[in-house]
């Protein structure tokens, strides 16, 4: 009887332990195999961003494994992966994209199990590692204001303050009817304040533009007093301009980016090692110092002073991939 209980307990533990957990010795074998593979190809949707390049350089210095990077917009990366796999061309190793696109690609069967990385144990809630994907970094969004046009007393304190008639026709915004920061903003505000919020905001006649980095400059030049949702990761590159970041009391919408190993990746061990490296504290600091929430513990306390107050604010909400189409359709109806 006792023996049976022990056996049941052992079986329970075996099932409860993630299949991708491994010992140090096993991990060393992965590292050695990765070095033999000598290179890894990263497909990323972070077009033009510097953070993943900096992380990749750190990886090359640390392991001597070359990182090749292919950047394209989210749906372009997705389509390239899809058609390559359909044609039997397995070129890419690691995929880096927003959580919605990653979820869709998981559903399409574009990934293989990553096999586990030791740094996954440092992951902080609400972020979770699954068999197929590993959260890598988080982008947070706020309001950007022109300090020449908005007096401190007029600064929005709540997201609801944007409904004040004084902002009518004065809000520049990423397109809420499209996948991206605008779409994220729409979902989070909808889930927090309801459909009525958007009906009132639409009456404010926000001006949509998807030229995101130029929108920041247009705001700084005084074309519009407010721009939303502003990606905090871009804040440090705007130093010196008459702008200020406002994070309303309710918090900031955020979106998670994920890493995954592409199906039949030619360099699976190097892919796994690169994912592990993305979760190192020094890699996470690269993201945190530019305004992104780290996904592992022990990072926020090491960030630079000007970013820490932003990161200390509340994360408000994020997209739900399963409802994305429904939300985009609703946005199209409300913002015509």
């Amino acid at each position: 009887m006792l023996r049976r209980r022990w056996l049941a307990m052992a079986m329970f533990l075996a099932l409860a332990t993630p299949t991708w957990a491994q010992t140090d010795a096993q991990w060393q074998k992965v590292v050695e195999a990765a070095k033999k593979e000598s290179k890894v190809l990263l497909y990323t949707a972070a077009v033009g961003h510097s953070q993943h390049k900096e992380v990749a350089r750190g990886f090359e210095d640390k392991y001597g494994i070359r990182v090749e990077i292919l950047e394209a917009r989210p749906s372009e990366v997705r389509e390239r992966v899809r058609i390559e796999q359909a044609a039997g061309r397995f070129l890419g190793d690691v995929h880096h994209n927003g959580s919605t696109t990653t979820w869709l690609m998981e559903r399409d069967g574009a990934f293989q199990p990553h096999g586990g990385v030791p740094n996954a144990r440092h992951m902080v809630p609400p972020y979770e590692v699954t068999e197929l994907h590993v959260p890598s970094n988080v982008a947070s969004f706020a309001i950007l204001i022109n300090t020449n046009l908005v007096k401190p007393a007029d600064e929005p304190k709540s997201w609801k303050d944007l409904l004040d008639p004084k902002w009518s026709g004065k809000i520049l915004s990423d397109d809420m009817r499209a996948l991206g920061g605008g779409g994220l903003f729409f979902v989070v505000m909808h889930d927090t304040f309801g459909k009525a919020y958007h009906e009132k905001l639409a009456a404010q006649k926000p001006v949509f533009s998807r030229d995101l980095r130029n929108n920041e400059r247009r705001t700084a030049r005084g074309e519009y007093p407010l721009y939303l949702p502003f990606n905090l990761a871009n804040y440090s590159s705007l130093t010196g301009l008459p702008i200020k970041v406002v994070i309303p009391a309710e918090g900031r919408p955020y979106v998670r980016n994920d890493l995954a190993v592409l199906k039949n990746a030619p360099h699976p061990n190097a892919a796994r090692l690169l994912i592990h490296h993305f979760l190192e504290i020094e890699s996470q600091l690269v993201y945190a110092n530019s305004g992104g929430d780290p996904v592992v513990k022990g990072v926020i306390e090491r960030t630079t002073g000007d970013m820490r107050p932003f990161l200390a604010t509340k994360a408000m909400g994020t997209t739900v991939p399963e409802r994305q189409d429904e939300m985009l359709e609703l946005a199209r109806q409300l913002y015509k």
Partner: protein
């Protein structure tokens, strides 16, 4: 004169109006009859095969995509949902917007370009050589840069022009608002006017002034002469330019996305962009169906041109010698000079001034002394990816433009100067890539090259980019050279052959020599078309084969518009250099002006 200018082709039937099997070089044809008979068949088959690979194959992939519920490689069902979805009020509005905007901008650009070309080529306006280069400059500036510059100049709130207007008049209402239909059209005109200008200016130059002089001597006024002789003789080139420009207007993306979308103006390309890039699940079926619907519309236009020009002759370069001269305008030459300068100031100096100024400040459009810097120049200089992309782009640009022009010249020869069976098919095949919006065609190339058998190592290499660029450039190359061929009388070829020159010698020393200016213009247009191409490049490049447009996109989305300005200026220097060489070559070879 009239017999040369507007004779019916049927009048020429029986003469050597076009090359057929009987007009091959007699000695060669006599010596190797079998070779030429079969050689022509093989050559035609080869040409059709090349064009089919370049245009039909990606189009077929797209057509499949428009009829299938899922893109290639994914299980789905064949249906007409994509086409059925087109029949909506929303799409009708989009279509009306697209056609309306393109029509207005093409008509205005054509009128302006013809006026400028006439001034530069046919009048004694001062500094015409320099003006010719200056007028064409806007075409070569990346549209995203001029859009940004015009956004700063012409936004209703704090645009430089409106600030100056308010300061001068005290009025609150803005003078201009770029974020409007007018703004979209104005921005598009900055590309279509120099494009059409380059297309028509050499045709003006190649025209025998005796035709106009005869008209004047017969009592026609200057206006009547321009309308009945000059304009009529220019019909092949102007209609080609009109159609190419109109189609490009339908496919334009940067102007409507930048100035139209923020105020709710939606056109075909922004709709397609929305279907592919803004959805969680890209709607390739709807996007490709929309692309094919646009293609049918454009094909009708091309068919209209064929019908309008069919059976008429527009030769102006004949065996009879002529001395190209210019019209003496007297004091009015300063007026024509002022028109050219005004165009240059409005389309080049204003936006370029913003770019140049911004390249020396930390932030685009923020002109504070404490923000003066050379960091953007250093940034570009140190950017290894940029230089690597430059090298790739130069290889692809020079190689691609040359191959494209050779292919275009061959296609144009077959379609305009022979009566070979299958020439119409060749013409259609060469037109196809121009009729499909670039954003959709880029996906077609991706699908086509990725789906090639593994033994054909094209996907992920520079070859994929090169083939895509050749396909995209061929329609333009064909139009440019066929318009030039249409002006060259067959009697010159006849004369060459009568004097014993071989077919190749005639081709090289008569047709190519006379069409050389158009060939050079086509090369420049194709070269810069390659440099600017993004839709296919972003989907076909691989690490190590980045091209300039991809690097510019990365820099732009990475928040470095100031460095993109530096690259834009660098490209302008390149343009000036190439245009200078081109004009020198033309002047040495052809022009006596």
């Amino acid at each position: 004169m009239e017999s040369v200018a507007l004779s019916r082709r049927s009048d020429l039937a029986g003469d050597a109006g076009a090359v057929d099997s009987g007009t091959l070089p007699p000695r060669l044809a006599g010596a190797f009859p079998g070779f030429f008979r079969h050689g022509r068949m093989i050559g035609l088959a080869l040409l059709i095969a090349v064009l089919a690979l370049l245009s039909l194959y990606p189009m077929a992939m797209l057509f499949h995509g428009s009829l299938h519920s899922a893109p290639p490689g994914i299980a789905g069902a064949y249906n007409l949902d994509g086409y059925a979805a087109l029949a909506s009020v929303e799409n009708l509005v989009v279509l009306a917007n697209t056609v309306g905007i393109s029509l207005v901008k093409t008509a205005l650009s054509l009128a302006l370009a013809i006026l400028l070309a006439w001034i530069v080529a046919r009048t004694d306006t001062p500094a015409r050589g320099a003006l010719e280069v200056l007028i064409t400059l806007p075409f070569f500036i990346p549209p995203i840069l001029t859009a940004t510059a015009w956004g700063m100049l012409g936004n209703a709130q704090v645009g430089t022009i409106n600030l100056a207007w308010r300061w001068l008049t005290g009025l609150e209402a803005p003078l201009v608002n770029m974020f409007s239909y007018g703004g979209v059209i104005w921005h598009m005109m900055q590309y279509s006017t120099p494009f059409i200008f380059m297309f028509v200016v050499d045709a003006f130059r190649a025209m025998d002034p005796a035709l106009e002089e005869s008209s004047r001597m017969s009592g026609a006024t200057r206006g009547q002469t321009f309308w009945r002789i000059t304009f009529t003789l220019m019909l092949p080139v102007t209609t080609s330019a009109f159609i190419l420009s109109f189609i490009r207007g339908i496919e334009a993306f940067e102007s409507p996305i930048f100035f139209g979308t923020p105020v709710g103006i939606e056109v075909l390309t922004t709709k397609i962009y929305h279907l592919i890039y803004h959805q969680s699940q890209p709607q390739y079926q709807s996007a490709t169906a929309l692309g094919f619907a646009a293609m049918v519309l454009m094909f009708l236009l091309v068919a209209w041109q064929w019908r309008m020009l069919g059976g008429r002759s527009f030769t102006t370069v004949t065996g009879k010698g002529y001395s190209p001269n210019v019209m003496r305008l007297g004091w009015m030459r300063w007026l024509t000079f002022a028109i050219c300068i005004a165009f240059f100031l409005a389309t080049v100096a204003l936006p370029l001034g913003q770019l140049l100024l911004s390249s020396f400040f930390r932030f685009f459009g923020v002109y504070q002394l404490d923000m003066l810097t050379l960091e953007h120049y250093r940034g570009v200089w140190r950017n290894r990816e940029f230089w690597s992309a430059c090298a790739n782009t130069m290889i692809l640009g020079v190689g691609g433009a040359t191959v494209t022009m050779v292919l275009g010249a061959i296609v144009a020869y077959v379609t305009t100067r022979t009566r070979w069976h299958g020439r119409r098919l060749i013409d259609v095949l060469a037109w196809l890539p121009w009729m499909m919006p670039g954003m959709v065609l880029g996906v077609g190339f991706l699908w086509a090259f990725a789906m090639l058998p593994g033994g054909i190592p094209i996907y992920g290499t520079l070859w994929a980019l090169l083939l895509a660029y050749i396909a995209l450039g061929t329609p333009l190359a064909v139009r440019v050279t066929s318009s030039a061929y249409a002006q060259i009388s067959n009697d010159i070829e006849e004369c060459s052959r009568v004097h014993g020159a071989s077919w190749w010698q005639t081709l090289w020393r008569i047709l190519i020599a006379l069409a050389w200016p158009a060939f050079a213009v086509g090369w420049v247009l194709t070269f810069f078309g390659i440099i600017r191409e993004l839709s296919a490049s972003i989907l076909l490049y691989a690490p190590g084969s980045e091209v300039l447009s991809v690097v510019i996109l990365k820099m732009w989305t990475g928040g470095k518009p100031e460095e993109v300005s530096v690259i834009g200026l660098f490209m302008l220097v390149l343009v000036l250099l190439i245009r200078w060489v081109q004009l020198r070559l033309i002047k040495n070879r052809i022009s006596t002006l």
